[in-house]
């Protein structure tokens, strides 16, 4: 009972910290999900380009971003670019860019698998009706591919929300950062982290529920 009291008291006492953190986390996640999705789709198409050099670029992009820690990528974007090229991003900008670019690599692989799993006949039927390659992709292949890989995309969205905690390293005042601040102020190393853990969980759980519903709606055409 005491524990729950303490949990509630601390949340209320430091509500401004947690609410600010929540706003930043949601903002970061939303930006990263949106930009990562668009960029990922673009990289997936690049990876299937008829030109070898373009394909190679996509390949390098994916392998580099998957093969190095996101924390390292974050440091490069935030401090490295500033030092080498005098490109200065605010912490929140660096955080959003790193998260988007990093997730684009994973999403690109998900999209590519989805697109390649669509039966060849679909593209052929579209082309035989006079559609261009672009139209066939846009109207026929990509909609079906996205529908098929929606569970995997949902997974990646959840990962993005959780990984956004890494940007606390460069001082973005999101949930993880606020938990540290509250800990420093209250000398309590447990409760603040439990509070943000619960908050992260509520975000990711809501997100996966929403995606589940969306998935079911898209399955209308599967009913026999």
């Amino acid at each position: 009972m005491d524990f729950f009291m303490e949990f509630g008291t601390m949340f209320w006492e430091y509500r401004n910290y947690f609410m600010t953190g929540l706003q930043y986390t949601l903002l970061l996640a939303a930006l990263a999900v949106f930009c990562g999705f668009i960029l990922g789709l673009f990289i997936a198409l690049i990876r299937m380009s008829p030109w070898g050099i373009v394909r190679f670029f996509g390949h390098v992009w994916v392998e580099f971003l998957r093969g190095t820690p996101m924390l390292v990528q974050l440091m490069i974007v935030h401090y490295g670019l500033s030092y080498m090229f005098n490109i200065n991003f605010s912490p929140i900008e660096s955080g959003a860019i790193t998260l988007s670019v990093n997730s684009s690599a994973y999403l690109a692989e998900i999209f590519r698998a989805g697109i390649q799993a669509i039966d060849r006949g679909q593209g052929e039927a579209a082309r035989s009706l006079g559609m261009t390659q672009g139209q066939a992709m846009r109207f026929i292949i990509i909609p079906q591919a996205i529908k098929n890989v929606l569970p995997a995309i949902g997974n990646e969205f959840v990962v993005i929300v959780k990984e956004s905690s890494i940007v606390s390293f460069i001082g973005v005042a999101e949930l993880m950062f606020q938990a540290g601040a509250v800990q420093g102020d209250s000398y309590n190393p447990m409760t603040p982290y439990l509070i943000v853990a619960l908050m992260y969980f509520i975000i990711t759980f809501t997100l996966s529920r929403l995606l589940n519903r969306f998935e079911r709606r898209l399955q209308a055409s599967d009913n026999r």
Partner: protein, 240 residues
Amino acid sequence: MITVKGLHKKFGQLHILKGIDLEIHKGEVVVVIGPSGSGKSTFLRCLNRLEEPTSGEIMFQGELITAKKHNINATREKMGMVFQHFNLFPHKTVLDNIMMAPIQVKKQNRSQAEATALELLQKVGLEDKRDAYPAQLSGGQKQRIAIARALAMEPHVMLFDEPTSALDPEMVGEVLEVMKSLAVGGMTMVIVTHEMGFAREVGDRILFMDQGVVVEQGTPQQVFGAPEHERTQNFLSKVL
């Protein structure tokens, strides 16, 4: 209408088409028969360049469609194709399947495309399925929708790639019926099929292909009644 000259197709080492020369006239129904692996489907798919010919020329309505700079998409609008496995778009309703190309490619407005689509659905006898998804249809119904989808572009020629081979036997008739009505209506058609009865009844000309060449061609009476080549006789004795 279609002129094919010296058409070759290789897949790597595999020489599938070894020089096809052919002239298809307006309103003609040409039926291509032959054993599996003889190159019938590849030949048909070369006509709208779903397969790129390795060498040779194809003229369609006076245009060299195998030319490098030729806009093949514009040609495909005038060449309908029906596939063995239907290839309906599973995420679209029957009506949207039929209206999609007229709207996106021919830039028709929705009401215009819908009017044509409904007319075609009536023609293939499936007007009650307009809002169904492909997964809710039988094989025969899917293929009739696929034919309607191709016809919606108002093609000048229709290519059929084994349209009844993936169907349960009791559904073959309904598809052939639709094709027959098209032939009677004067549509130019090239049909790859194993339905010999249909070929004999509807075909103006029968092409027998084997090992990448046209071995023999002629009217159904000639090819089915008195085949000249041994390979044709052999094949027919197995399938008739």
